[in-house]
Amino acid sequence: MARTKTDQPKLNFDGLWDYDPAPESSDAISIKDQYDLFIGGEFVAPSKEGRYFDTINPSTEERIASVAEATTQDVDIAVKSARKAYDKYWSKLTGKDRAKYIFRIARLIQERAREFAIIESMDGGKPIRESRDVDIPLVAAHFFYNAGWADKLQYAFPGRQPKPLGVAGQIIPWNFPLLMLAWKIAPALAGGNTVVLKPAETTPLTALKFAELIQDADLPPGVVNIVTGAGATGSALVNHPDVNKVAFTGSTNVGRIIQKSLAGTDKKYTLELGGKAANIIFEDAAIDQAVEGIVNGIFFNQGHVCCAGSRLLVQEGVADEVYRKLTDRIETLVVGDPLDKNTDIGAINSKAQLDRISTFIEKGIAEGGEVHQSSCSVPDKGYWCKPTLFKNVSQSHSIVQNEIFGPVLAIQTFRTPAEAVEKANNTPYGLSGGVWTDKGSKIFKITSKLRAGVIWANTFNKFDPTSPFGGYKESGVGREGGLHGLLPYIKL
């Protein structure tokens, strides 16, 4: 009992009291065996050359359902249906009535929140704690926030008469399937546009459940159309001549292709692309909270986050302490079944993504990085990656330069604020960044120097419907969210 001294202090986290599994029941959800395309308010089979593909659960590698692959012809029907809905119904409604429809959508999402959360976790692999507490509440919030704008646009853009653009073609990624749908559809509808949206091929289910919700909300047919498919479907949508606006979230490479293919058209576009954010920890930071921010920055959603804090820049004086705390902290991260309420890190979204991450980890080791992984175990079946830290890496390492999109953190040190800023900006990307210091004036100075669209100070990975999001440089064009997120859907 008395104070006794050990020479080599070490914390032990496992063995005495481990948490039993606490799985969220998936009994109350309903998923059809096969989904058609949602066009003109109906589920319709793909045209005759079309076919169906499977969407699988990345934590079990089992098939969940089949979804239709939309062909160029299907996309054309969808765009026509959106155009018709725009001309016939949606552009004739008052802002007040548009608002009411969008509020209705928001409420229906809140009512079905748990079903959406469970399906999101099954289809995409993200922990239920995140889909339940982050993704779905934010989805509802985005619809609520944008609903209110529908009849207030003249205050958002004073001196102008805001008008809709027409038909928006929207392509979203697999990391936040329903949330990205909300980011796209909510401002488009508020602005008076109709939409054709293509979800990612590995995570189409919540978008299709959303299509059912659109039916229940009694939206005029064709205002929202959902076409499932892969790259070819997306390309058909982007290149359709009657689309007035393209919104894309995904990789910088695909974004580049889209921007090029839009050359010579007068389509408006927004691109939300990759990132390689630096999380900068100064020695005067609140270290324990900074460690939480680092963990949240890179391990949130398995690191499948374009704004992830995948580079850690830590001031030399606190580097050892931060590293020790990080290694302790990742021991308490629970990796496994996405539907278990205690899971912190779920399944990697697909086999292809796991292969990509593994290749980068191997490269990182081969290039001389010092690797450390959590000692946790992972299930036999499914796609998993343990939380991974890399020490002793520099700007030239491939894991520092490339967006890995996985739970892999590259740790570098710095000596002065100028050096931190220089390293942080030394990338083609510019989506986000983190600054940790207890000194307010330093926050404002550093954030003013960082070339990125979202900077979190003493926090990380915060999202809010009122707050604009988007990148500098190769991280994209335009903003989503907030007042500025309306602009891409408005003709002034």
């Binding site: 007040k96 209110g148 307010g440 404002f444 419907p465 007042l483």
Partner: protein, 287 residues
């Protein structure tokens, strides 16, 4: 067969989330145009007002401390509950003298107005805030904050839509209020407190009194812990009294005259701004 005997409703005032009678025990009788008796309402006193004021002050910190999103959800909830009670309000407005068609239009407008201001809860800050490019190494920004506790004196002839149009912008902006309902429409005003009560509006945020304006106007405009007063009647004597009393503690005085509360010009964010203070913060920028 004998006719079923109606169970008549007792109209009470609403203080701190509770339906109470005036401490005075006195009442006023409401009649319709043809002089038929409609209901008895409370004749609130300055003590009732004081109680309501204390409740409003107590609730102010919590209400303004809620997230803007949450306040928006609560206003939207009020609209939902009012929608569910459309028939009741149409009936009461008819008793108070409106035609069936007018009563219906008015209830619908009141619902829509709540939805409208629900939408502003997390947006007026974005319209009225600024980052100010000062000439020194400072980050300088200005943001609105609620003024505090507001006295709302609804005009004598105002109706449900008038009442809603005065309350909604005040609470959307994070203020709490004590409302004196217009006498002619005291029944629907009292029933509106039931909507408030079942809409997750925290106790004390909206307090509604009925009674004689002549007895309460002086207290509602002079109380030293009231921060602003919202008045829409056009009588010059009352307005002068309010302004004089306001000068005791520099209350914000907001007059808004109208002959038609249904008019869409009453839907704008500047009424919210009337009950806001602008706070400017200077912060150094350096390493």
């Amino acid at each position: 067969m004998s006719k079923r005997l109606d169970v008549l409703k007792t109209y009470k005032i609403y203080i701190n989330g509770q339906f109470v009678r005036s401490e005075s025990g006195h009442y006023l009788t409401l009649t319709n145009k043809s002089g038929e008796q409609l209901a008895n309402i409370c004749r609130s006193t300055r003590k009732d007002f004081r109680q309501a004021m204390v409740a409003a002050r107590g609730a102010q910190g919590g209400w303004s401390g809620k997230t803007a999103y949450n306040r928006g959800q609560i206003l939207y909830r009020m609209a939902e509950i009012l929608e569910g009670r459309r028939a009741q309000f149409i009936h009461e407005l008819s008793l108070e003298g409106a035609s069936a068609k007018k009563a219906e239009a008015e209830v619908d407008a009141a619902i829509d107005r709540l939805v409208y201001f629900a939408g502003w809860c997390d947006k007026y800050q974005q319209i009225f805030s600024s980052v100010n490019p000062v000439q020194s190494a400072h980050f300088n920004f200005s943001t609105p904050e609620p003024t505090g506790v507001v006295s709302i004196i609804a005009e004598e002839k105002s109706s449900l839509i008038g009442l809603v149009s005065m309350i909604a912008p005040v609470i959307a902006g994070g203020n709490t209020c004590v409302v004196l309902a217009g006498q002619r429409n005291a029944m629907s005003a009292c029933s509106f407190t039931e909507v408030i009560h079942s809409s997750d509006v925290p106790s004390g945020v909206i307090n509604v009194l009925t009674g004689l304006k002549s007895e309460l106007i002086s207290h509602m405009s002079s109380h030293m812990d009231i921060n602003a007063i919202f008045y829409t009647d056009s009588d010059t004597d009352s307005k002068k009294l309010i302004q004089e009393n306001a000068s005791l503690n520099i209350k914000r005085v907001v007059f808004e005259e109208t002959d038609d509360w249904m008019d869409e010009r009453h839907e704008n964010p500047y009424i919210i701004l009337d009950f806001q203070e602008i706070k400017t913060t200077w912060h150094p920028v350096s390493v």
